[in-house]
């Protein structure tokens, strides 16, 4: 229950003044009742013309004081009564709360509890919001007196004209407007600065220049006089911008020479610089050290300080610091992303060029020689690979062929494949004698392959229609299979180590009849030992068996190629299967059967 009185009827014992008004409340101190009392007291003080700031302060003061009574036994005991008396003086307001609970001890020094404490701030709030206070604890009575000064009530004046009233600012509303203006100003400052810096960032300003401008602006708008922006570089924190303070050298994370920076990094929380008489002169008296992150990754530390003042940064300024740090993080991430994209784009283009070059090294069109049909296939496991084949017409009597495989895959292997192909092409005087050509190629390529720690397997041969033979030389490559008209399959096994392993290699040559109805298959090891999947020909004998079974039934090289592609599970229009682990290359030559 509450009611208000004039000064003339002030109860005895309450400080009194000539001018004043009294408000009384009495009731059982439940939390809900105290809250209602606080709202009613605020309304009473509002009618007296107190500033908005004081109304809010008294609403909070009465809540804290009354809650103490309720929580110290007042609420649970139905016989308890709390009396609240408020008296408005000319320049101050006094409140007296009387209760009959056990009470509590008001400490000599009231301080804030730890940041993570969930209680213990009520007394601090009461001290902070009052100009004086006293707590008298008696055996059966406790009296808390709170007093708060204010600038004074506005003088009572005759009613002003309506127009004038509209133009006279209300002090309470002015205060709210000031607070809102300050907050809006901070937001506007952040926003406009971010727009401006975003535009700068697009103009290819270096990150260091960008960081320095950002920091300079931040120091200004937060009323600070020094700042430092340090970013993570590897395992170190490196200063990227400093304003009003000396830039330290790069340091290991968590071992910073900047005061408190390592604490902020270790705790991953803002660290506040607060007034400390023991702090050496020349160091900031107030400020904030803000570690900023991208998800869990530490990106850097932004420190803002004041040498000239120990006034702590307010919430709006802290908000600006956080916003700028987040904005800077996004800029760093954006630049990282752009750099990665450029690198990936260059690498992708290089791969495309390499693949294009490799495709251009394969025969654009296989030679047409009456009596022979040819079909080739070369599919890399990656964009580019180390397999190749080549077919070169020879004296209008046949042609010279090569099927090769450079150890490894990718751009390096493809480059070496191009070099090897060129070497065999250059040995045109030796095409008639493949063994000699292979030995010569071995000597020419040895130094390069040895230096690169690579090797090349190759099968070469020459089809001689005049003599009706195919002469084959094999350096470490898969056997070249020749199916004879009677169904027999001859296997031309390697007779020489791969190119690159022997400086002066010696090679033996196979000479196999290649009469009408004969078929030849030269292939790379991608057909027999793919590394992560099923092999169509687990062993070379399987390839020979397949040749024996299929060669007689397929007349042209294209027919035999289609059958082989089906066997290895490759559909040409769809490219290599996803399971293909190795390059797959083969060359098929068939000698047309004589008409019956």
């Amino acid at each position: 229950m509450s009611f208000s009185l004039t000064a003339a009827s002030t109860p005895s014992g309450l400080p009194c003044a000539e001018e004043g008004r009294l408000w009384l409340w009495s009731g059982h101190p439940t939390l809900a009742a105290i809250r209602t009392a606080g709202q009613e007291a605020r309304a009473f003080l509002g009618t007296a013309g107190l500033p908005e700031e004081d109304l809010g302060a008294w609403e909070l003061l009465l809540a804290e004081a009354g809650n103490n009574v309720a929580l110290h036994g007042g609420e649970d005991d139905p016989d308890q009564v709390l009396d609240i008396e408020i008296f408005i003086f000319k320049n101050r307001v006094t409140a007296r709360l009387t209760d009959r609970t056990e009470g509590f001890t008001w400490p000599d020094e009231v301080s804030l509890p730890d940041d993570d404490a969930e209680s213990g701030r009520g007394l601090f709030i009461m001290e902070a919001l009052t100009s004086s206070r006293s707590y008298q604890r008696h055996p059966c009575l406790n009296i808390l007196t709170l007093e708060r000064a204010f600038e004074g009530l506005p003088p009572a004046a005759a009613p002003a004209p309506a127009v004038a009233a509209a133009t006279v600012p209300d002090p309470a509303q002015e205060e709210i407007l000031d607070a809102m203006t300050e907050e809006l100003s901070a937001c506007y400052e952040s926003l406009s600065a971010i727009f401006r810096f975003t535009a700068e960032a697009r103009q290819c300003v270096s990150l260091t220049d960008f960081a320095n401008r950002l920091l300079q602006h931040l120091v200004t708008v937060t009323g600070a006089d020094c700042g430092m922006l340090r970013v993570v570089s590897g395992e170190d924190l490196t200063t990227i911008a400093a304003n009003g303070c000396e830039s330290p050298e790069a340091c290991r994370l968590g071992q910073s020479p900047v005061p408190f920076e390592n604490i902020a990094v270790a705790t991953r929380q803002d660290h506040w610089i607060e007034a400390d008489p023991a702090r050496p002169s020349g160091q900031p008296q107030a400020g904030l050290i803000h570690p900023f992150f991208n998800e869990d990754e530490l990106m850097g530390v932004l420190s803002i300080g004041r040498h000239h003042s120990s006034t702590p940064l307010d919430a709006g300024q802290v908000n600006i610091i956080h916003t700028f740090a987040e904005f800077f993080t996004q800029q760093v991430l954006s630049r990282r992303h752009a750099e990665s994209a450029i690198k990936a784009s260059i690498a992708h283009r290089e791969l495309e060029l390499a693949a294009e070059i490799q495709r251009s090294l394969l025969p654009y069109r296989l030679p047409v020689i009456p009596g022979l049909t040819l079909a080739g296939h070369c599919e890399s496991a990656l964009t580019v690979g180390g397999d190749f084949y080549d077919v070169i017409p020879w004296n209008n009597l046949g042609f010279f062929f090569v099927v090769g495989d450079v150890m490894g895959k990718g751009v390096g292997a493809s480059m070496m494949a191009a070099v090897t192909r060129s070497v065999f092409r250059s040995l045109n005087q030796l095409h008639q004698t493949p063994a000699r050509a292979m030995e010569r190629a071995g000597r020419l390529l040895y130094d390069d392959l040895d230096r690169l720690e690579m090797f090349v397997t190759a099968a070469i041969g020459v089809v001689d229609l005049h003599l009706g033979v195919v002469r084959i030389a094999n350096a470490g490559h898969c056997p070249v299979l020749v199916s004879l008209p009677d169904g027999t399959v001859v296997s031309a096994e390697p007779t020489m180590a791969p190119l690159g392993l022997d400086r002066n290699p010696a090679c033996q040559e196979f000479s196999v009849p290649f009469l009408p109805g004969a078929r030849l298959l030269a292939y790379s090891d991608g057909l027999i030992d793919p590394r992560d999947g099923r092999s169509p020909f687990p062993a070379p004998e399987d390839a020979a068996a397949w040749m024996a079974a299929h060669a007689p039934g397929h007349g042209s090289a294209d027919d035999l190629k289609a059958a082989l592609l089906q066997q290895i599970g490759c559909i040409p229009s769809e490219g290599p299967s996803t399971a293909q682990a190795d390059d797959q290359t083969f060359l098929i030559i068939t000698r047309e059967s004589l008409p019956d």
């Binding site: 909070l60 809540a63 209680s119 701030r121 300050e182 919430a315």
Partner: protein
């Protein structure tokens, strides 16, 4: 009080007062409606007109709740009077405040 789950965080809004009389109820409701798959909590203060020391304790409790799951706790759009209470108790440096 309105509690919404927006897939990334739990948002508490439409709280006009956070006081000794409402703090426990608020904490309990949030705990009950904080799904295990979420870890972030946003407390929308745009409707909050009054905050006392018990209300501050409730906010710290909610911050711990998010922190236990490795999440963040933010105060969104607090009014100047609320910011004054946070600054007075120096909790503006503890909470992430989004104006």
């Amino acid at each position: 009080m309105n509690i919404t789950n927006n897939e990334h965080s739990l948002t508490i809004s439409d709280v006009r007062e956070l006081t000794a009389g409402t703090a426990n109820e608020t904490k309990n409701k949030v705990r009950l409606q904080f799904p295990p798959e979420l870890k972030h909590i946003d407390f929308n203060c745009s409707a909050l007109d009054f905050l006392d020391s018990s209300g501050l304790g409730a906010l710290i409790s909610l911050q711990k709740l998010a922190s236990e799951r490795g999440g963040r706790f933010r105060l969104l759009s607090p009014k100047p009077t609320i910011i004054q209470v946070l600054e007075m108790t120096r909790l503006h440096r503890v909470f992430e405040i989004v104006a």
